[in-house]
Symmetry: C2
Subunit: 351 residues, 2 copies
Amino acid sequence: MKNFDINEDPHRRYNPLINEWVLVSPHRAKRPWQGQNEPLITETLPKYDPTCYLCPDNVRANGVNNPKYDGCFVFENDFAAMKQDEIMYEDDIRQTFFKAKPERGISRVVCFSPRHDLTLPEMSISGIENIIRTWQKEYTDLGAIKYINHVQIFENKGSVMGCSNPHPHGQIWAQSSLPTQVEKTQKSLKDYYSRNQKSLLGDYLKAELNKEDRIVIENDHFVALVPFWAIWPYETMIISKRHFGRITDFTAEETTSFAKILKQLTIKYDNLFNTSFPYSSGIHQAPTDGNEHEEWHFHMHFYPPLLRSATIKKFMVGYEMMGESQRDITPEKSAAILRELPDVHYKSETK
Amino acid sequence: MKNFDINEDPHRRYNPLINEWVLVSPHRAKRPWQGQNEPLITETLPKYDPTCYLCPDNVRANGVNNPKYDGCFVFENDFAAMKQDEIMYEDDIRQTFFKAKPERGISRVVCFSPRHDLTLPEMSISGIENIIRTWQKEYTDLGAIKYINHVQIFENKGSVMGCSNPHPHGQIWAQSSLPTQVEKTQKSLKDYYSRNQKSLLGDYLKAELNKEDRIVIENDHFVALVPFWAIWPYETMIISKRHFGRITDFTAEETTSFAKILKQLTIKYDNLFNTSFPYSSGIHQAPTDGNEHEEWHFHMHFYPPLLRSATIKKFMVGYEMMGESQRDITPEKSAAILRELPDVHYKSETK
Ligand SMILES: O=P(O)(O)O[C@H]1O[C@H](CO)[C@@H](O)[C@H](O)[C@H]1O
Ligand SMILES: O=P(O)(O)O[C@H]1O[C@H](CO)[C@@H](O)[C@H](O)[C@H]1O
């Protein structure tokens, strides 16, 4: 009988953040692909697009005129998934099968800059610091609203990630309940914290820095790594070295370091397949419910779908939906590939 | 203050099968769409395609010749996600962050018929009964292998669901562990059964038949409905009326009824947008670990991505990945739309 080789043999890995497993099939990367290819987006975007509803001074779908903004521009989503109205309702605790509760919330759009063509990897550090300060302000302002207990900051980048406008922007959905994934994460962080009086992600980060093989980028205050339990081929997580729970806890140095690691990571992503790399990213941090939440440890997830090229993605479908997430390349291999990619954007090299 | 109206107000619903919530935004269906459209597949497929590696008598990627099969044809996946080799390994229970275990398994492909162009809704009832008998045989044979404790039968239909060959086929991934989603389901079924000595899905089905508004199809032995907690726009679940745990428990009448409801449901799906409707489907049933599993109740999930037309799908991205699943149309509305669709396939009407 052969000894277990994690680099070669099919296996499952455990994700202690959400208490789920992932199936890893290292040998499967060689599989030929005859399936759907994503459209390759090669057009160069203009700095300003008169038909874009996010560009400065343009008119949005609802008839409102955008200001001639500089820096970031934040507005309420015209087609929000939640509403602010307070709804009267009585909880029926006897319900087993038909449990439903009204949910209040606010959705905002954050345009990263006036430039229609400037994605994170191509922005200046001060431009990205500006986005971080905007996120801090929104987290504070939205979090201060009495019924808002959670503020989800995220970005869908690329049409393959359901993004309907290429003008670089993110979103913020703030709401009264803790969303499912955040609740799972909080439970794990809390369990660990009450058992060890230490941060789960802090200890995990130390263990990873020891091992080195899943680290993509390390700077003074943050580390970008491919988690041991990553499900997407080039999934990464940025974790703060210091143990704090909120983006508003950043020092001035941490703000700059975070801007730098965001830029460096997204440059590597773009350089992987010489394309504007699609992903969904999102920040997980303490709820805004007024409690201390010492268990929380600031981190940001990147879930990019591409697997082998700018047009071939990983499909999380039948087995993954009915059974569990499955990946075809080991996290260690993905990390090594990302780590070795240049820190200069492929477009600026040819300029 | 307004009273809660589940048909109008944003709310969350609880899924007792996997203990998760979904965000429902009934008012959001009106949102305009400027994002990615899926390619519209309009080509008519030939009955036989000489370049298809699933058609009878053709050669597969690995050089093997398919038999000149009739009915279903089952073979081992040439690029399986798991392997059968027994791997030596010692469990390190002190591991918190780097938990990994080798996983053994077998992947098979099930061609539904020799016909390259015949999807489930266009097949005869006896042709579908033949598939069901094949699933039964595979569940029995694979389940009888000592180290196989779970047999996942599923289908990825359509290129948008990562299906790389249009020749109608499904897959079976059999393995030693219970996959994450199945484990969650089993936990809920078990908790309910030990508390009530009754089947969770049996009781749920009774409650749904009482309410009527989420029922899509009902026949003597099975019901197809849009679950109260559905996440995909036109998600459905087929539940057996009788409480049993395995596809091998079907009576002869149940086999025919199941074939009929499969055909009728997939006809409605095709008729929704006059297209060969993409989905991932999968059967959830008792593990093959040798235990009785009285808590299990046979059911089949359909997760179709389309939202508004043959080319516009729902993207489960940023908020959904970081926060929780979100839907733009109520399950009741989806069920009503599906229910009212004709039971005759749109293609046969124009013939
Ligand atoms: O096995 P196939 O059809 O080549 O592959 C498809 O189904 C598998 C099982 O759901 C997925 O893991 C793959 O990502 C998908 O492309
Ligand atoms: O709000 P957008 O960008 O129009 O929409 C996109 O992001 C949302 C939040 O992840 C998703 O619910 C939508 O399915 C997706 O298309």
